[in-house]
Amino acid sequence: MNLNVDAEKKNTYDAIVVGTGISGGWAAKELTEKGLKTLVLERGRMVKHPDYPTATKDPWEFANAGRATQEDLKQQGVQARTGYTIRQDTKHWFVNDIDNPYTEVNRFDWMRGYHVGGRSIMWGRQSYRLSDMDFEANAKDGIAVDWPVRYKDISPWYDYVESFIGVSGQVENLPQLPDGKFLPPMELNCVELDLKKSVKEKQDRLVTIGRVAHATAPLPHSPQRGTCQYRNLCSRGCPYGGYFSSNSSTLPAAEKTGNMTLRPNSIVSELIYDEKLGKATGVKVLDAETGEQVEYYAKVIFLCASTFGSTQIMLNSISNRFPNGFGNDSGELGHNIMDHHLSVGAGGSVEGYEDQYYSGRRANGFYIPRYRNIGKNNRDYIRGFGYQGAASRQGWSSLVAELSLGADLKSAVATPGKWTIGMGGFGEILPYHENFVVLNKDKKDKFGLPTLTFDAILRDNELKMRKDMANDAAEMLEAAGFKNVNKFDREIGIGLGIHEMGTARMGKDPKTSVLNKWNQVHACKNVFVTDGSFMTSAACHNPSLGYMAFTARAVDYAVSELKKNNL
């Protein structure tokens, strides 16, 4: 009896954070800095900044020029669907699909990595703010549910997280894409500057440099981080700390407080719910290395295990109070899957500029913010899209299909090739109740836990939008005088944007949403969910910055509620 009490004491913290990705890292930093003894659980292996195994390798240090082998594709065939992740320099950041299966009713791409830092290591780093256009959209269009917050609620938290992580960008004064606390912007190249001018003159749209979480100037509060070195090897992990990741930024801050206990290889299988208290008292953990089951307890729990990770835990947390999944009185848990639809746009070749080039490798491109359906809807679809793109001079591969051979080929390759330019759209996907994920109890993973089954597709609004996404891109490139303009529109599955969102949405009404405006489970006040699952709508741009802002805000609220004994 005493033994148990002791064990329980030993396993009791003020707070538990599940996950160490973008949201979990922020929750860990904020909770520990506010003085809470915090247990941070990560299902994958330990990764410590700056120990990223391939980060400083030269191209010739990889077998097969870095390409995936047949064996890699056997182990990580689903993760390889992106076309860019399963390579010798980055494959270790993505899960083994044989060990981590899921079921897809329609093609569904679930791209993820299980390790400390999660996808904050290989994220795209593009960082944009939601605006009131986004927060008001559901209410105006009369779909799904209204966001329970508006821009003014979140704006100071965007300021707060941007100042800490470092976001490089250009102030543009666009109401639909609010400016942030920016570090110096990166440069557009000659051809992109030309596109910018043409798009402004001919279409009255904006081309700006991408807003990225790169330190283009020193960040004195994070001495372990240096500035961006323009290597463009970000997704290997950056030993310079040139971009924001949990490993380089928030976890070191949490560690510094002395209040964090980080436990890797810890798979949270479910939340422990106390019917009498009406609260979650802790989590059940399966040790991924030993198979041992351990329980940990805390006053407040932050689920930051990724959209589907957290939803999986909640769906698997069954009690008399919550027979259909934790906090799932609304029946919305697992529903309203969103992502951004992409792989549609246009490219072309550029004549001239032969005496101009660039130096350094910019891990960024240009951005064209949303311009469709601003103010009022006047297309045959609602919402909109933005574009990300870049211009560059071609390298050796452009000469494979040219006549050069032998010594001529060698000298031709040494001269920078023609300029080319391309852009791809990122389109908003609406929150459809019919796009959902459920637990699959018939198919267990190697730990004996139920897996997930996804049933989600692009629907009419997205498919109509894609026509504009291809046509508008081609039109802008042609108007700028670029040649051989080709549209593309590839068939994709939801998930390929790796921006999954929405399966535990926030809303005003507990009958139609899982979380309240503080990311707090409506039906269980001491559980907060701050990864992408809270998103009520998707907007059309990279969402991670928002997860950071909402997480910091939720922690601030949770700790003040805790102090008032309200949790």
Binding site: T56, D58, P59, W60, F62, A63, N64, A65, G66, R67, A68, T69, Q70, E71, M186, E187, L188, N189, C190, E192, L193, Q229, Y230, R231, N232, E354, D355, Q356, Y357, Y358, S359, G360, R361, R362, R393, G395, W396, S397, L399, V400, A401, E402, L403, L405, G406, A407, L409, K410, V413, A414, T415, P416, G417
Partner: protein, 198 residues
Amino acid sequence: MNFEHKIKDMDRREALKRTAWIMGGVVSAPAMMGILKGCAAKPTINWKPVFLAENQGILISQVADIIIPKTDTPGASDVGVPGFIDQLLKECYSKEDQDEFLAGLTAFDEEAKKSHGDAFNDLSAEKQAEFVKNIHDEAIKAKSEKRPFILKVKELTMLGFFTSEAGATQVLQYVAVPGSYKGCIPLSEAGNGKTWAT
């Protein structure tokens, strides 16, 4: 390789060039290497194939060196491209793609026999170069949707070569840690003005 060796190498190359001129033809890099090593009779390779048969490995080596010969910078076989191709075929190609590649190789050799009377490996360096050029130029002009064998070898040769240290740093330019980005500068100010390797 130290400086003294380089001088010696240059002298030897110079001597060979003169020999070639006397013989009235251009000597291909592998043939030159053969002469240097004193074993011009039968082409061999100094690496052990893991996927290809020995004679297929020899063929790939010779074609690769015609595609990217040694000039004032190393050529394909100097940096191990043939072995790179062999390994990549084994590890990265599906069974179907492997079979297709081997069928292409066989057809390539048959074509050499048809047009020059001998298997490719038995042709003179001059005939090999001529044959490769003809097949290559036809393939480029045909613009077929499916990449023909010769262009697959060309692509693999270029991939192996330009991701090698010599290819990336001597033929192209490579900076591991640029430290800054300049978006729009005169070509002459972009390092040494050559194509960036990455």
